[in-house]
């Protein structure tokens, strides 16, 4: 009686494969961190938007603006320009983060193709 041949995959893992797998893992971690950073940056942006809207509505001349841990009494115009500055910085930061995220997603897609081509079902690269 002939036994069926072994169906366990015999694909050898080379050092190059291992490095690809490692790189994929690193990119995945960075992607998660980036998502968190992008979320925080978006929240900061929203807060700044709300603040500047409130500023337009208020009729007080002196606004308590938070610097460090204290609230300094600052004239409304200066607060406006400070908030604008902060908004510029946060928007630029957000742009940079989104760009980095795009690059990482592209790199991960490329690595996925390479690894799935070699290992097919023996490897799982999806998010659990």
């Amino acid at each position: 009686m002939q036994q069926a041949g072994s169906s366990a995959s015999e694909t050898e893992v080379t050092w190059e494969d291992q490095q690809n797998i490692n790189k994929f893992g690193r990119l995945n971690n960075r992607l998660h961190d980036l998502d968190d950073e992008i979320k925080t940056a978006k929240e900061t942006n929203e807060n700044l938007e709300d603040a500047s809207n409130e500023l337009i509505l208020t009729d007080e001349e002196i606004v308590r603006f938070q610097i460090g841990e204290v609230f300094a009494h600052v004239p409304k115009d200066e607060v406006e320009s400070r908030i604008e500055e902060l908004q510029k910085v946060t928007s630029k930061n957000l742009e940079k983060l989104e760009e980095e995220k795009e690059t990482i997603v592209a790199q991960m897609a490329a690595l996925k193709k390479i690894l799935y081509a070699k290992f097919k079902d023996s490897i799982n690269l999806e998010e659990d």
């Binding site: 009686m1 072994s6 366990a8 893992v13 050092w15 490692n22 610097i67 460090g68 841990e69 300094a72």
Partner: protein
């Protein structure tokens, strides 16, 4: 001996040696499959412990950096107002939910909290220099830490892949033995 192309260890974290061939690996270590798997699992646990420690350090640094930046902001504001001769009026927290008003005139010096119940007085310039230096150190430490974590995670991945390969190799060997036994019986 199967060697990895990268460093053999980094800041106390031993590198996981990459296994070229499972058969050679097992015969060189002179271990059977279950002991090899146990050894690898133990390694994995050790890596996890170090990972926890590094993550905690990373969280501390990530909290410290915005704090230092806030301090720099305050000192810069004080310096800016010093030239104009105007007084700064600020509301500061006395206790949770309770604030009081302070009037700051012509701030020549600031006191910096150095930790361990020590507070030192510095001129605005000295304070800025000190805070800048602390900020740079913190950022540099964070960079090194992130690199350490990446290295560690690579070693974890290598170990996990090795465990899977040893296990698969074992399953494959069993199937071959079963097939051999079956054909020899029939």
């Amino acid at each position: 001996m199967s060697t990895s192309a990268s460093a053999t260890e980094r800041r106390g974290i031993p590198a996981a040696s990459f296994v070229e061939d499972v058969q050679t690996y097992l015969s060189q270590l002179n271990l059977d499959v279950s002991s090899a798997l146990a050894h690898l699992q133990e390694r994995l646990q050790q890596y996890r412990v170090v990972e926890m420690k590094l993550l905690a350090q990373q969280r501390d640094l990530q909290a410290k950096i915005p704090d230092i930046e806030k301090c720099l902001d305050v000192v810069a504001t004080l310096q800016a107002k010093k030239g104009t001769g105007e007084a700064i009026i600020t509301d500061f927290e006395v206790s949770e939910g309770i604030y009081s008003r302070a009037r700051l005139e012509d701030a020549d010096s600031v006191c910096l909290w150095l930790g361990a119940n020590v507070m030192l007085e510095y001129s605005c310039d000295e304070a800025t220099t000190l805070l800048q230096k602390n900020l740079e150190n913190a950022k540099a430490s964070l960079e090194v830490l992130v690199a350490d974590l990446q290295f560690l995670r690579d070693q974890v991945t290598i170990t996990q892949v090795t465990i899977a390969r040893v296990y698969n190799w074992d399953v494959h060997q069993r199937r071959l033995r079963q097939a051999a036994a079956a054909t020899s019986v029939s």
